[in-house]
Symmetry: C2
Subunit: 361 residues, 2 copies
Amino acid sequence: MTPGDARRFAALPDSFPMWRGGALHGARVAFETWGALNAARDNAVLIFTGLSPSAHAASSPADPSEGWWEGMIGPGRAIDTDRFFVICVNSLGSFFGSTGPASIDPGTGKPYRLSFPDLSVEDIARGGYEVVRSLGIERLDTVMGTSMGGMTVLAYVAQFPGATRRLISISGTAAASPFAIALRSIQREAILLDPQWQNGNYSSDRPPATGMRIARMLGMMTYRSAAEWRQRFSRQPIAPELRRDEPFAPEFAIQGYLEAHAQKFVNAFDPSCYIYISRAMDRFDLAAHESALAKSELEGALVIGVESDMLFSIEEQRALAEALKAARIVTRFAPLNCIEGHDSFLIDLKSFGAQIGGFLA
Amino acid sequence: MTPGDARRFAALPDSFPMWRGGALHGARVAFETWGALNAARDNAVLIFTGLSPSAHAASSPADPSEGWWEGMIGPGRAIDTDRFFVICVNSLGSFFGSTGPASIDPGTGKPYRLSFPDLSVEDIARGGYEVVRSLGIERLDTVMGTSMGGMTVLAYVAQFPGATRRLISISGTAAASPFAIALRSIQREAILLDPQWQNGNYSSDRPPATGMRIARMLGMMTYRSAAEWRQRFSRQPIAPELRRDEPFAPEFAIQGYLEAHAQKFVNAFDPSCYIYISRAMDRFDLAAHESALAKSELEGALVIGVESDMLFSIEEQRALAEALKAARIVTRFAPLNCIEGHDSFLIDLKSFGAQIGGFLA
C-alpha cells in the first residue's frame, strides 16, 4: 500500500479455475471505484484496461494522483460519477495489486513466474466478474474496455450472459490480427532472448531490461501513428541534453521520445506479467464462444475505433459492430478520425468522450 | 568468388573521400550487368538496391541463380535488355563484394567494423557513379532505385547534375519519416544491446544473432501490410513441424513466417554493415542539397509508390513528385494500390513493370 492508495481487493474463489486449465489459490483482483452504487444496484459501469494500466483510471479523495483516463471519469464527465458507480479493475495476471506471475505462489512461497498457469482474456474477464459479485451487483449497466479491455468485454458477455445490459468496445477486437500477433511475438521474443531473462528466473533487481526496453519502444511505435509523429517530431534533432557520446547514439527527437518511454517502462512493469498478458491477447478469439453475442442478452452496444490505428484496425471494429448487429443487438459504430493511432482514446478525450457520454446518457 | 558468380568490380579512386568526412583506401564496388552498351554509350540504366540485396538483380549465363528482381529485367521485360544496358550495384558499405564495415581495412589488416568512416547515402550514390565512369559511360539513360535505392537516386542527381537523363524512384523518399527512423532505431538498438555485439568486436562465428533476428523480424513486419497478412495467414496455427516444446513457443503461422525470415538473415548479412546502412537511411535528406532537383538537368522522372506502404508512405512519394514538378521536370506519379506494402515492388511485378516499362519505352 502506497500513501494515497485507493485500491480495494476482491478475493477470488479458492480455487479459481483458469480457462485453459490449472487453478489459482488465494488469488485476488485489485480495483478502484468512483461514484455511488444506487439503491437498485443497477447503475454500475465496469472498465477493463489495456495491457499495462492499473486500476487507477482517475483521481479520487483517497488517491489524488492523476489516473490513466483522468478526464473521462468524474462528476459531469463522459462517464458521469453523479449518475454511475464506476469500477475499474487491474487485470488478473497484471502487476498492480491483482494476482499474476510476479505474485507469491502460496504453495511455494516464491513468485510464480513461469509456473503461473496459462492466462486467458477469459480469466481476466472472470476476475472482473468476481469483483462485481463481491460488490453485490447482479447486473451491470455497462461493461466497457479499451484496447485489450475491448477484448475482455467480449469475453465477459460470452461467459456471463445477462451480466450486463450494455457493452462499449473501444479500440478493441474480436480476435487479434496477424499484424498484432507479429508485433507482440517480437516484443515477447526480445524479452525471452535477453540473457537476463534466465528462463523466467531473473532476480527482481536485474530484470531483462534490454528486452523490456525493446518491447516498449516497439509498442510505442504501434500505439501512435506515422502522421502524428510527422506533425510532432518531423526530423527535429534530439535535445542536446539527451545526446550521448557513443557510436550510433540517438540523433533525432523521435529517438529521444522512444528512449524516455523505454526507461520508464523497465522499472514499472514485470517481464513475466508482460509476456503472459501479451500472449493472452494473441490467443483470444470470440469465435471460440459459440453464438456468444446472440446469447449475451445485451440491450445495446457501442463500438469505437480509429482510422489511424495500426494495431486494432478500423476494419476489425467495423466487423465487430456488424457481428453485434447480426446478433440483433442495437449497435452504434463510431469510426473516429483521430491521428493519434491506437492510443487516441487516451489523448482525444473530447471525441471519445462525446461518443461514450452520448451512448451512456 | 563463388561458382556462377557474375560480379564485376570497379576500383574506387584511392583515396575515396566520404561525404561526412574520412576516406577509404583501396575500396571497390561490386556490380553486375545485363544487355549490351550501344555504340553511342547512351543506353545505360543504373539500379540502386534497398538495404540488403546484392548486385544480383537477375540471372545471367554467368550466374543462372534467381536474382532479387528476376522477372523485371531481361529481353522483352519491363527493363528490356534488348534495348538497355542494365547495371546493378551492390551498395558501398554493404556485404556482397563492395567495400564496407565487414571488409579488411588495408591499414590494419583487420575488418573495419566501427572504424569504418561514417557512411552516407551520398557515398553509396558516388560508388555507383564510379562504376558508371569505369564503364566509359558519360551519361545514363536512367538512374533508378527501390526503397533506399529511391533515396540513392536523389543523392545521385544532387551530386552529379547532368549524369543521367531520367530518374525513377520506387518506394523511396526524399527524407526518412520519424516513423521509419523509429523503426530503424529499434532495429539497431536490438543489435547494439545484444551482448554478443561486443561494441563491434564480435567474432564472425559468434555474431549478435539475437539482435539480428529481432531486427529482421521487425523489418518484415513493416515491409508488408496488415491487410496482406490477414489474407495470407489470418489466424492459422503454426505448421506442426515448426512447433517447439518450450515456454511461449510460436503458435501462429505468422510467427513461423517471421522466424524463417529471421533465421535466414542472421547468416546472410553482417551486423556492422547493417547498422551503418540503416543509419545512413535515417540521415539522408535531399534538403541538404540546395536546389538539387532544379540543377539536376533531368529530362523526366517517374515516382512510384504504394498506398499500403507504412515505411515509405505514399504522401512522401507524392511530395517527391511535386518537388520534381516544381523543379520543372516532366514527372509521372504512379500511386499503386498493391496490398503487399513496402515490398510490393518485389512481388507485384505486373503493376510495377507496367509503370517502369511504360516510362522507359
